[in-house]
């Protein structure tokens, strides 16, 4: 199913290509090759699920309403800050 017409993220999209990041189709292919068969939509769902988990922590910390979780998880600025933290903690067992 294609994205609804006219959809636009409030703050654009996280710049993953500049970082050497992959699209959901590529990710799905890699995961499938590694024995974890999945479609690109599932890859996107897992990615957003992870973002939601982290966003939940932020909402709990600042006592924000649960309705904010989705907005924060989808915000490219939040996603890029997560990428920065993961990049800095790379090699360290989280």
């Amino acid at each position: 199913m294609s994205m609804p017409k006219g959809f636009k993220a409030h703050h654009g999209y996280a710049t993953v290509t500049d970082r050497g990041g992959k699209g959901y189709r590529e990710i799905a292919e890699i995961m499938t090759d590694d024995g974890d068969s999945m479609k690109h939509s599932a890859a996107r769902n897992y990615f957003l699920s992870g973002m939601r988990k982290v966003a939940t922590t932020v909402c709990e910390l600042y006592e924000m309403p649960n309705a904010e979780i989705e907005r924060i998880a989808l915000d490219p600025r939040f996603q890029e800050s997560i990428a920065d933290i993961m990049s800095e903690t790379q090699g360290i067992d989280l």
Partner: protein, 132 residues
Amino acid sequence: MYKAYTFTEEYTETLKCEPSVDELAAAVRVPINTLRAIRKSGAPQLSLDAPVSKSDSGSRTFAELVGGVDDKDPGDDMDKVTLRSALVEALAKLSSREEKIIRLRFGLSEEDIDSTNFPISKKDFMKLQGGC
């Protein structure tokens, strides 16, 4: 200022309490706002470069104690540290599948030698080995 001081002294001596601002203003015949302004201007002036402690010449100066307007709020830095550690904890709770997908999405590979995503030929590999 002198008039106000004298009146306050006399008033305190006679009535055993300090005059109110209204009474003082009426006594020296100036408006209340003017009296307040005179009082403010009469406050002792301090040099920012003067030491805080008079007995210790090597003590810190007032300028060192008073933050500038552009100074960062230490509370903000503390918030950032708290948020960061909370995020790191939250990332640790991700499932291995979620973590792997997020790392791939952001182009973060855990392996130093990622021959799958960055393949090199055997010839190039041998060349690199020979160069070391």
